[in-house]
């Protein structure tokens, strides 16, 4: 039986990277990791940092678990996975506090909550425990990108419609105390939709994305 020598970017490996962006998106198809998607999408900047933090944690934990997969005792595998994820998260948190203090203040408790992000434990248990490190790496990048992409799209609309800003810049003009002193859209009496800043609207935004995605991608529609 000849062992098939698989290229680094074989069709199968490419799909590991690309599938989670659309067909198998962790948020919109598997509906995992919703909690953080609600909590830190009020503004674009923390959402981007959160996406990067999850990328770091997911890729490294996937690769480490994959390397150790034949050594980890089956009975304590979940605890071992949790230990690896938790330590990576602590490293991220400590590094942010030392080098990106402002961002770490904004993300506050949510960095710690990456530990409980179901996407990470889900990938470790479902994929890394059964596949080699290179595949696990691609799977980690793909899933983190799929997660981050949705996070950034949701944050874009929430920040734009909720506070009229993007990355903290007032893209819709400046809102002063009176309409007369305001500039941009606000001088015509435009008001920010404060409801966008609250968690329910994140859920509704994710719902709209799911709706759009399924209307484009028919194979996702369940009977």
């Amino acid at each position: 039986m000849a062992v098939e020598n698989e290229g680094l970017f074989s069709k199968q490996n490419r799909s590991l990277l690309i599938d989670p962006l659309d067909d198998n998106n962790p948020i919109t198809v598997q509906v995992l990791g919703i909690c953080s998607a609600l909590a830190i999408t009020v503004q674009l900047k923390p959402a981007i940092v959160m996406a990067l933090a999850v990328l770091f944690v997911l890729v490294f934990s996937n690769v480490i678990v994959s390397l150790l997969r034949n050594l980890i005792p089956n009975r304590i595998r979940i605890i071992v996975q949790l230990l690896i994820v938790a330590s990576l998260v602590i490293v991220v948190d400590q590094v942010l506090k030392a080098y990106a203090y402002d961002v770490s203040k904004e993300l506050s408790v949510f960095v710690g909550l990456i530990i409980t992000n179901c996407i990470i434990m889900g990938r470790l248990e479902a994929f890394a425990m059964a596949n080699g490190p290179w595949k696990a790496f691609l799977d980690g990048v793909g899933n983190a990108a799929g997660y981050g992409f949705i996070l950034i799209v949701v944050a874009f609309f929430r920040e734009l419609l909720g506070s009229g800003k993007l990355m903290g810049y007032e893209v819709l003009g400046h809102k002063a105390k009176t309409v007369a002193e305001s500039t941009g859209l606000y001088q015509f009496g435009y008001e920010n939709n404060g409801f966008m800043l609250l968690s329910p609207m994140a859920l509704i935004t994710v719902g709209v994305i799911i709706w759009l995605q399924r209307s484009k991608n028919r194979k996702l529609i369940e009977n």
């Binding site: 050594l71 005792p73 009975r75 304590i76 071992v80 602590i90 400590q94 590094v95 404060g194 609250l198």
Partner: protein, 231 residues
């Protein structure tokens, strides 16, 4: 070795824990000085911002000594406690003590020949802690600047207390009335009257946070009355 045996499981767990624990201990210890430095600089930046000196966090530690001339820890009767370093006082721990056991830090700053008195604040909002600084003019009555921050107030609502539109309302307000009685400055729901020198507009949708700010300002400043009236 049988990977399902108890011995293997224990061995694996112990080795894993030792590796992870030493890795984390190393990371935490080596980053600690940088983190402590960030917190210290941020405190200096906040103190300076209340007297209208806006600097970046990195500049704050360089400029701090140019402005802040004295850092005092006060006894409840307003006299100075020389044994305590006011800058290092942790207000979140002080407020838990009894009124007569607390140390009350106050910073004296000088800018353009005028002396300002900066009083740190600490209190509770809707979800978690609030803190900030209030700077009083040489008359120890008129507010020249305020800076507030919070741990986890609702974004867009209560969290707005750290925005300049809210903080700047405090400028020019007075904490004592014309009879020299302490009245503090309150955030008024529905908006303060234009000529109200003891009130500012509360945040719509952030009433509990606004009330938290009012309470915090009143409770903290109240402790400094002996100091403010005597000196």
């Amino acid at each position: 070795m049988d990977r399902n045996s108890n011995v293997y499981t224990f061995l694996f767990a112990i080795i894993m824990i030792i590796i992870v624990a030493s890795g984390l201990a190393f990371t935490a210890t080596s980053l600690k000085p940088l983190q402590a430095e960030n917190v210290r600089k941020e405190k200096m930046q906040n103190i300076l911002s209340t007297i209208g000196v806006d600097v970046s966090r990195d500049e704050a530690s360089l400029k701090y000594d140019d402005y802040v001339k004295q850092q005092l820890a006060l006894f409840p009767d307003g006299t100075v406690n020389d044994e305590v370093d006011a800058f290092k006082l942790d207000l979140s721990k002080e407020v838990k003590k009894d009124h007569d056991k607390q140390n009350y830090p106050v910073y004296q700053a000088e800018k353009e020949g005028k002396t300002f008195y900066i009083i740190p604040l600490y209190g509770a909002g809707l979800w978690d802690a609030l803190w900030g600084y209030i700077a009083l003019d040489s008359d120890k009555n008129t507010i020249v600047g305020a800076s507030f921050d919070h741990k986890s107030e609702t974004p867009g609502l209560g969290a707005e207390i750290n925005q300049s539109w809210f903080e700047d309302q405090y400028i020019g307000k007075k904490i004592f009335d014309e009879n020299n009685e302490f009245v503090s400055v309150k955030a008024v729901k529905g908006g303060a009257k234009a000529d109200d020198i003891h009130g500012v507009d509360a945040i719509s949708g952030g009433t509990i946070t606004s009330d938290g700010v009012s309470l915090m300002v009143e409770e903290r400043l109240n402790n400094y009355i002996p100091y403010l009236k005597n000196n």
